[in-house]
């Protein structure tokens, strides 16, 4: 992330009107983003009304429902409710897997592009960037079309004789994983590319002069040097994957439910439990903040 304009030159030509210049943005983000998030926190402690709205009475019911099962009428002895914990755990696993896969494919790609000659480099980069700009919904629908039971992928595999029965990918965790990986792959490539492009390759040559093989150079010199780019890429893939809605909704089924679908169901679907939806969103936001804090710490450690 660009440092807060902590620029090379601190210029103050517009200092006297600074607050007026910043006011529209402060107000817009403050009123329509910060305030709503604060309200969402409040809502997560309110009592739910039948279908939709809330009653303004403080309760921990939403968080209680998340962790404990107290039976249909809420009067049984509490036992751990695994449904929601499982959904969050599955989302964490899926997001981590997607991050790892994107890193495994994205790092060599970024490294390859960054070591091309400057003229072909921008062509490769352009090729990788284009899919990122295509509507995410359209990309996810396209993936669904490609991998569905009678889809082109299965037809091609059957036709080539590689498989005898069509692969049942749709509605599995693998399909959701494929969707997440495919959605956020460019997010991994771009920051790593930027880091490798800035990397000083004479360091690698020094390593080679000291008889290090090219894989040793990559592992011991290049990767530590471009680590900030790698961490940034991982965060950019992990955070949206964790709260993803389209990939699990379109490519998955009931058994692949992720956080995004759980939250959506509380507001748009049949569940209609706003405080519980708000609480689920708060828990997701907390997880993301933990990831971002980890990122900020890793970045400052790199700079010291």
């Amino acid at each position: 992330m660009a440092a807060a304009g902590s620029g090379r030159t601190v210029s103050n030509t517009f200092a006297p009107v600074r607050n007026w210049l910043l006011l529209p943005t402060w107000l817009t983000v403050g009123i329509f983003m910060l305030l709503p998030i604060a309200l969402m926190l409040v809502y997560s402690f309110l009592t739910k009304e039948f279908r939709g709205g809330v009653i303004w009475e403080f309760t921990l019911a939403a968080y209680d429902q998340f962790v404990f099962d107290r039976g249909l009428f809420g009067d049984e002895a509490p036992s751990i409710e695994w449904t929601y914990i499982t959904i969050y755990f599955r989302s964490l696993v899926q997001a981590s897997m997607a991050t790892l896969l994107c890193l495994l494919i994205g790092f060599p790609t970024a490294f390859f592009i960054a070591t091309r000659s400057p003229s072909t480099r921008s062509m490769w980069l352009f090729l990788v960037t284009i899919p990122y700009w295509v509507n995410l919904l359209i990309r996810t629908v396209s993936m669904k079309f490609l991998i569905r039971e009678n889809g082109p992928l299965n037809q091609a595999l059957l036709g080539s004789g590689l498989i005898d029965t069509p692969l049942q990918l749709i509605n599995t965790n693998i399909a959701v994983q494929l969707g997440l990986f495919y959605s956020y792959l460019p997010f991994m490539v771009l920051p790593i590319y930027a880091a490798v492009e800035r990397y000083n390759f004479s360091l690698s040559e020094a390593g080679a002069d000291l008889y290090a093989g090219r894989w040793t150079i990559l592992r011991r010199i290049v990767i530590p040097a471009v680590k900030p780019g790698i961490i940034a890429g991982c965060i950019l893939v992990f955070v949206p994957s964790l709260g993803a809605f389209l990939a699990p909704d379109l490519l998955g089924g009931a058994k692949t439910f992720m956080i995004g679908s759980l939250i959506e169901e509380q507001f748009k679907g049949n569940a209609g439990n706003w405080p519980f939806g708000a609480a689920s969103a708060m828990i997701l936001l907390t997880l993301v903040l933990i990831a971002l804090l980890f990122y900020a710490r890793a970045q400052t450690k790199e700079q010291v």
Partner: protein
């Protein structure tokens, strides 16, 4: 900086398998899109069988039974994206000047944090928070609520390229203008803005595409009856992928590619100009 010399002992270009992985990466990124583009020209009601080239689904998008719905959704999408990107770019330009040219001030980091909140927070969380907010203040969900939401999440996307551009412009230009008795507005209008324009344009295009792209937040706060292209496509896809949806998707896809190429071109000519100086 890599210079491309042929060091005998070490050449960073020679990592066996990296070219292969790059090609796999591109294959994964493009295969689904190319397949859908291809099948949108399929002259068959069933999406499974190929039976010859045809433009019938493109005709269907514009004149078929769902044409009116698509047209309305397209109008909503484009007008919201245009307005949201314009407002967000104006706010972001002002904010960038305040941040980059406002000297050192207390709360600069806080201010930057505030601007980047819409990027940091997962979309689904933003969607929930805004739905709760709008329903609490009693704003009827519809065109206006969508527009407000889009302005908010477009601001950081417009801000980043604009402030990056501004950081690369030396303050001596405006200082010279002010020495020659230009007031702040004139210094901005006639000196700073022409220099910032490429950044403002790419910020605008970025915001425009981000707004066109949004599904999750719009889906939450659109209310009944108001659709944008993504929500209309999502609704249609829930009934199964039909060939006219593939044609519509292909059109949107090509439109995005056109915009990106445009932004790429603007950025490139700008860079070449800089190199020439």
């Amino acid at each position: 900086m890599f210079t491309g010399n042929n060091n005998r002992t070490y050449n960073p270009r020679r990592y066996p398998g990296f070219l292969f992985i790059t090609l796999v990466c591109l294959l994964i990124l493009y295969a689904p899109l190319l397949v859908v583009m291809g099948y949108s020209f399929n002259d068959n009601l069933s999406i499974t069988k190929w039976s010859g080239f045809s433009l019938r689904w493109y005709t269907d998008v514009f004149t078929g039974p769902e044409a009116a719905k698509f047209k309305k959704a397209a109008w909503n999408s484009l007008s919201i994206a245009l307005s949201a990107a314009l407002v967000a770019t104006s706010f972001a330009t002002a904010a960038a000047i305040g941040m980059v040219r406002g000297g050192a001030f207390n709360g600069k980091t806080l201010s930057f944090g505030l601007i980047s909140i819409p990027i940091m927070v997962p979309e689904i969380v933003t969607a929930v928070a805004m739905l709760i907010f709008f329903s609490m203040i009693g704003l009827k969900l519809g065109y206006l609520s969508i527009l407000i939401a889009h302005i908010v999440f477009c601001i950081p996307f417009a801000y980043l390229p604009i402030s990056a551009r501004l950081q690369g412009i030396e303050a001596s230009f405006e200082e010279a203008a002010q020495d020659l008795y230009a007031d702040r507005w004139k210094a901005f209008r006639y000196v700073l803005m022409p220099l910032m324009l490429p950044g403002m344009l790419s910020g605008f295009l970025l915001a425009f595409i981000i707004s066109l792209d949004d599904f999750i937040i719009t889906n939450f706060i659109k209310g009944a009856g108001v659709e944008t292209l993504p929500t209309a496509i999502f609704g249609a896809v829930k009934q199964g992928i039909k060939p006219n949806i593939m044609a519509l998707s292909t059109l949107m896809l090509l439109f995005s590619v056109l915009l990106v190429s445009l932004s790429y071109f603007i950025g490139r000519t700008d860079k070449e100009k800089n190199d020439a100086n």
